[in-house]
């Protein structure tokens, strides 16, 4: 038993899960063109059982992406269009007085759209703070509590929210507590001319083709089980901890830029998110251990919505992504104190 615990996954144990995830990624790439890296990160987020905030202009395919994922993974998918007059009950559900028998009436809970596997919260920043706060428990506890009764959400449960970065009039910026609950904030970019050309020439009305392969629930459970066994070595976990600590201006390893631009650094939840998503990336890469490159790959999406910049950064037009990228370039992964004038060159 202990020997089993001490061994990392063998190639034979890992390969089926990796193949499944690569196949899912291949399906996504086939359905939605030109965004392989975004698809990889979304799948990594799902493998990590985290919620993802997609940020991008309208019409870039955010909804189509969520729909495609639901289709491939054979998960229930629901969409909520957030508006200022949306109420918490519209999301969570409510109790309705119903006639259950002759002369007998009873308050019956009518579940809201949140009771699903994949919830697309479209334009989440348009809802009022009251409605947004209704999402906090669902995202963190994966349950809904109404009138003293807590109801668990289906497993798995993911929130894939989207927000428009330009139409800020009539919007309510997400509070930091809610932002912190998102595993990733992914920026959905425009596609290239070649991809656009392919889209309009091969697809009528831009409709993506149906998935030619779908992952069964058993397969998905297998993938989750294997992902849970991906090992995070101590030097890598140490690097994650140092990285998150370095985002704080008072941190011992904080860079000059961090001290100058950052008001508040990332929370411990960010370290957990990096560790989990690095494991997912390692699984997708076919490795039983999370490495430094996995951490670097996920650190940007994990940290860029958790770092709060000060006014000086705004004046200098510095973005969180730039600050995180600079930190990743500066902080040595292995913790070996190599002086500035000493350089390691690959032989």
């Amino acid at each position: 038993m202990s020997e089993k615990q001490d061994a990392i996954l063998t190639p034979d144990e890992l390969k089926p899960a990796t193949d499944l995830m690569n196949r899912a990624l291949e399906q996504l790439d086939r359905m939605l063109l030109g965004r392989t890296e975004l698809h990889r990160m979304v799948l990594a987020g799902i493998l990590s059982k985290g919620h993802i905030l997609l940020e991008g202009l309208p019409g870039l395919g955010k909804t189509a992406l969520v729909r495609a994922i639901g289709q491939i993974l054979q998960l229930e998918f629901k969409r909520i269009q957030f508006t200022p007059d949306l109420m918490p009950a519209d999301i969570l559900g409510t109790h309705i007085l119903q006639e259950t028998g002759p002369g007998k009436r009873e308050m019956v809970f009518e579940p809201g759209p949140v009771f699903t596997n994949i919830l697309l919260a479209d334009e989440i920043n348009r809802a009022s703070p009251k409605t947004q706060s209704a999402m906090l428990e669902t995202m963190q506890e994966r349950s809904v509590t109404l009138l003293g009764t807590t109801r668990s959400l289906p497993d798995p449960f993911f929130v894939l929210a989207s927000q428009n970065p330009i139409e800020l009039e009539g919007t309510y910026p997400l509070p930091e507590a809610q932002l912190d609950r998102f595993l990733f904030r992914l920026i959905v970019q425009n596609v290239s001319v070649e991809v656009l050309d392919e889209i309009i020439s091969t697809r009528r009305q831009g409709e993506p083709p149906a998935a030619s392969w779908q992952m069964s629930s058993e397969q998905l459970a297998t993938v989750f089980a294997v992902a849970a066994q991906i090992y995070l070595p101590h030097p890598v976990s140490r690097y994650v901890a140092r990285l998150v600590a370095a985002t704080h201006p008072v941190g011992t390893e904080a860079t000059d830029q961090i001290r100058e631009y950052v008001s508040y650094g990332a929370s411990p939840r960010a370290a957990i998110a990096i560790a989990e998503s690095a494991r997912a990336c390692a699984l997708m890469a076919g490795r039983p251990t999370a490495g430094f490159e996995d951490v670097k790959q996920v650190a940007g999406p994990v940290l860029n919505h958790r770092i709060i910049l000060n006014y000086r950064a705004r004046l200098d037009k510095a973005t969180p992504s730039q600050v995180v990228a600079a930190l990743l370039d500066t902080l040595p992964e292995a913790g070996v104190d190599v002086p500035d004038d000493v350089e390691l060159r690959e032989a």
Partner: protein, 472 residues
């Protein structure tokens, strides 16, 4: 490939990193130390008279500096796990290499990449420049003249070379027993004190003191030189008497004269100074016999040789004093003549009594002064060292034929009172060495003045009483 290779690569990289870090740290500390050392050297040279070779021992402190660098870097020596993590990151192993330390990852051994140990490059230009600058600063601190290390208001008077010269003179005088040990030590201490207290703003005081010491030593050296000269003179006389006595003893012709010579020699050797000096050089029996006037011919010869050696020692002492410039030019000249036999002085010494006079005559006869312009012609010449012919050989040269051969075939034509007529175009005969110079045959051109003509005529017309006459 595999974990074993990764371990080996990590060990190699760790060692290389450690060495580079140690070298870097030592360079930094050595730079810092050398700058501080240079400042300390400057301060010491400005404030004390600590000699440079003593200050140079500070270079030995570079060894402790190296030890400090080692101690500092030992604490920061990269851990093996960290170096493996570095290798893992550089080779993009995805945590497999580092996981091998924590979990059983043998199944992935073949999946590990080939590990190449990265090279450690140290951009040392800045450090090396700083180290070089600090080393140059130390050299500068050592080589700058002392006068520049003192503040302008109280800089030291540069009297080191004077003090050094005087110290050498003191040592010489002590060595030649001119100065007593205690006196020499006192003089040396005084010289050190003067060098220590020599101040640029009051140079007269120091220089006067040094002049005084110089004068004292010159006086002592002059006294010693005079004494040595006198002893040399005495020994010269004694040697001459010993030689004469030996000659007389060998011939055995005049016992009275021999006795007088012995007596005179004994009188000379009884001189206290000479006796003191010879006491160490001569065997006790020989000196006693000499003072008693009872020396055998062999003892006389031995005495002569020993006196000659003692004279040499005295002259050597005088030479060293001259060389050290402790005695002046007058003594220098006397020193050159010291030990040369002076028969007049000896004759004056032996002048009292008939025997003394005869002995003086004998000595004059025995010993000449030598040379071509001194002494009598019948005096034996004293040959010392033969002249070297090296570089003095005459250059052989064939001279042109002289005019004599040309006159062999001449014939008297007549005697004229007037200047001989020389036909136009005739060239005077020139030959011999005159042909190369200005003289163009003087007989043809010399003009006989009218007042001399009668004398010339009479000469040619005279009848030689011995029967010879002019050709006419």
């Amino acid at each position: 490939m595999g974990y074993a290779e990764g371990e080996q690569a990590a060990t190699t990289l760790r060692r290389a990193l450690g060495m580079v870090r140690l070298t870097r740290r030592f360079t930094m500390l050595a730079t810092l130390y050398l700058f501080v050392y240079g400042v300390v050297v400057l301060l010491f040279r400005a404030l004390t008279r600590c000699p440079r070779n003593l200050l140079a021992f500070g270079f030995l402190a570079l060894f402790p500096v190296a030890a400090v660098a080692l101690a500092l870097e030992r604490r920061k020596f990269p851990a093996r796990t960290a170096v493996k993590a570095l290798l893992d990151s550089m080779h993009r192993c995805g945590g497999l290499l580092v996981a091998g330390d924590e979990r059983d990852a043998g199944a992935w051994d073949a999946r590990l990449p080939e590990f190449r140990v990265p090279t450690v490059h140290w951009h040392a230009r800045r450090h090396v420049l700083a180290l070089t600058a600090s080393a140059i600063f130390v050299v500068f601190a050592f080589s700058i003249p002392r006068r520049y290390t003192r503040p302008q208001s109280s800089y030291t008077l540069e009297v080191d070379h004077l003090v050094e010269e005087l110290t050498e003179q003191v040592d010489l005088l002590e060595e030649e027993a001119v100065l007593e040990d205690t006196r020499a030590r006192a003089l040396r201490d005084e010289l050190d004190r003067l060098a220590e207290e020599a101040r640029g703003d009051d140079p007269a005081r120091t220089l006067e003191a040094l002049d005084h010491i110089q004068a004292v030593m010159n006086e002592r050296a002059s006294e010693a030189a005079e004494a040595a000269l006198a002893q040399v003179e005495e020994m010269t006389k004694a040697q001459a008497l010993a030689d004469a006595s030996a000659t007389l003893a060998a011939t055995g012709r005049d016992p009275a004269l021999m006795a007088a010579a012995m007596k005179a020699l004994a009188g000379l050797l009884k001189d206290q100074e000479l006796e003191r000096m010879l006491a160490g050089a001569l065997p006790e029996g020989l000196l006693g016999a000499a003072q008693a006037g009872a020396l055998t011919p062999e003892q006389l010869k031995a005495l002569s040789e020993l006196l000659k050696q003692c004279k040499g020692e005295c002259r050597g002492c005088l030479g060293r004093l001259c060389k050290a410039r402790l005695i002046d030019a007058k003594f220098l000249k006397l020193c050159k003549n010291a030990g040369r036999y002076d028969p007049d002085a000896l004759a004056a010494f032996l002048a009292d009594g008939q025997a003394g006079k005869e002995l003086a005559v004998l000595l004059r006869a025995c010993c000449g002064k030598g040379g071509v312009d001194r002494g009598r012609g019948d005096a034996p010449m004293t040959w010392t060292e033969g002249s070297s012919e090296q570089g003095a050989a005459f250059k052989e040269q064939v001279l042109p034929p002289g005019p004599v051969s040309g006159l062999n075939n001449t014939k008297l034509v007549g005697i004229s009172a007037a200047v001989p007529k020389v036909s136009a175009g005739a060239t005077p005969v020139r030959s011999g060495v005159l042909a190369t110079g200005e003289g163009p045959g003087a007989a043809h051109t010399r003009t006989v003045l009218p007042r001399h003509r009668a004398a010339v005529r009479r000469y040619f017309e005279r009848t030689d009483k011995e029967g010879t006459r002019s050709d006419e």
